[in-house]
């Protein structure tokens, strides 16, 4: 249904319920919707499951959400980074659950949720710790692992520019998880640098069509 252009990030994240699954875009800080995550902290929902490639950098954005004790479980590919001290501490204190998913499987499970794929077989992870307890099958002579979709109640993504129909374009490697997460959640919120009039984006170059986007909010980057 029609996208809503919100006046501020707090309006954009209203209505999140405790226990929700929240997909958060970004690879490190590139594409990370920091201001939306900060609004989610103010919004107050807790007991969240967060799906994101990493588990927070430094003390802002996702790291701040973790530090605020709002996250019950992280699903990510690479929590351990030089500046992931907030997550590291919570994990070592046994205060957060972790599901590690190979990065390509994470992306493909999100795509599956968005594309109506019930499950898929992938070679990634076959014969490793991360396949333990998962169904496996040999296909064309190679071991495959059965993987299920990851669907979000909410997705928070950072894009470059939107039009008033919610069509989105991204910039360089900040594109990363935004487009797949936008397909995989019930409510999709995008923060963008700029909202242009409808017709102002090249129809051949739109990466996320507005059908996937529920709310857009313009966030002026802090210089």
């Amino acid at each position: 249904m029609t996208v809503r252009i919100c006046d501020d990030v707090d309006a954009a994240v209203s209505g999140v319920e405790d226990g929700a699954t929240v997909l958060i875009g970004g690879f490190g800080m590139a594409g990370m919707p920091v201001e939306l995550v900060e609004a989610l902290i103010r919004q107050g929902a807790s007991g969240l499951t967060v799906v994101s490639n990493n588990a927070g950098n430094g003390d802002t954005g996702l790291a701040a959400l973790l530090a605020a004790g709002r996250v019950r479980k992280m699903i990510c590919s690479f929590p351990r980074q030089s500046d992931s001290w907030v997550f590291d501490r919570l994990y070592r204190e046994g205060r957060i659950e972790l599901e590690v998913v190979p990065q390509g499987t994470l992306a493909e499970r999100l795509r599956a949720a968005g594309a109506g794929i019930g499950a898929f077989y992938a070679t990634t992870g076959a014969g490793t710790l991360l396949a333990e307890g998962k169904e496996t099958r040999e296909i064309a002579g190679r071991a495959h692992v059965l993987e299920y979709p990851i669907k979000g109640d909410l997705a928070l993504i950072g894009a470059h520019r939107a039009d008033r129909m919610g069509n989105l374009v991204y910039r360089k490697t900040a594109r990363n998880f935004g487009p797949v997460m936008a397909t995989a959640a019930t409510t999709v919120v995008a923060q963008v640098r700029d909202v242009v009039e409808t017709g102002g984006l090249d129809p051949e170059a739109i990466v996320t069509p507005g059908i996937y986007v529920d709310r857009v909010v313009k966030v002026v980057p802090t210089p």
Partner: protein, 226 residues
Amino acid sequence: MSTATAPAEHLDRGPLTRDELAARVARDIPRGSYVNLGIGQPTLVADHLPGASGVVLHTENGMLHMGPAARGEQIDPELINAGKTAVTELPGAAYFHQADSFAMMRGGHLDVCVLGAFQVSAAGDLANWHTGAADAIPAVGGAMDLAVGARQIFVMMTLFAKDGTPKLVPECTYPLTGKACVNRVYTDRATFLVGPEGAVVTETFGISFADLAARLDVPLVAGPAA
């Protein structure tokens, strides 16, 4: 006359014309919906969606915000709809490839899909791709994807075939397109809700509920207009 729990019986008129039927379907499409109109009769619905409705049309060959049919110099062989007719592009349109287009459909992102049908069962089974005739060349296109993919499936058809046999049936005898996928059935004689609880008549045109029930093999419940 209709009551709170009975269908609206429009007895002061005959069956709906094709255009009236298209207008009736259009009236039930929520403002701002993303909609796919199947090839054939459902394409008429587009003519009854006012621009202010904010409805965005999807065509499964890879486009959102398709505009009206192209005429004269607008015709571009690379800008066609699923029926392979030249169409136009509205501001805010987006193009994508087939896997992305059907991911959009199969992932449940379209609000409404309007399809034609050979038969619909009271439980919402749909048959619209194959007559089952031994010499027919089977061709399914996107019909099965549409049937399972959209949040709501509206079927638009005449209630009776040319030989008078009903197309709303207890069980489809033609090969199925999808099981339990149809939500509403719009016909020239009546509109129905279908699903696990069976067929509910919400409106009739030039026929009473009682006469309608007598002509169909399907148990009918009289319901209010949705």
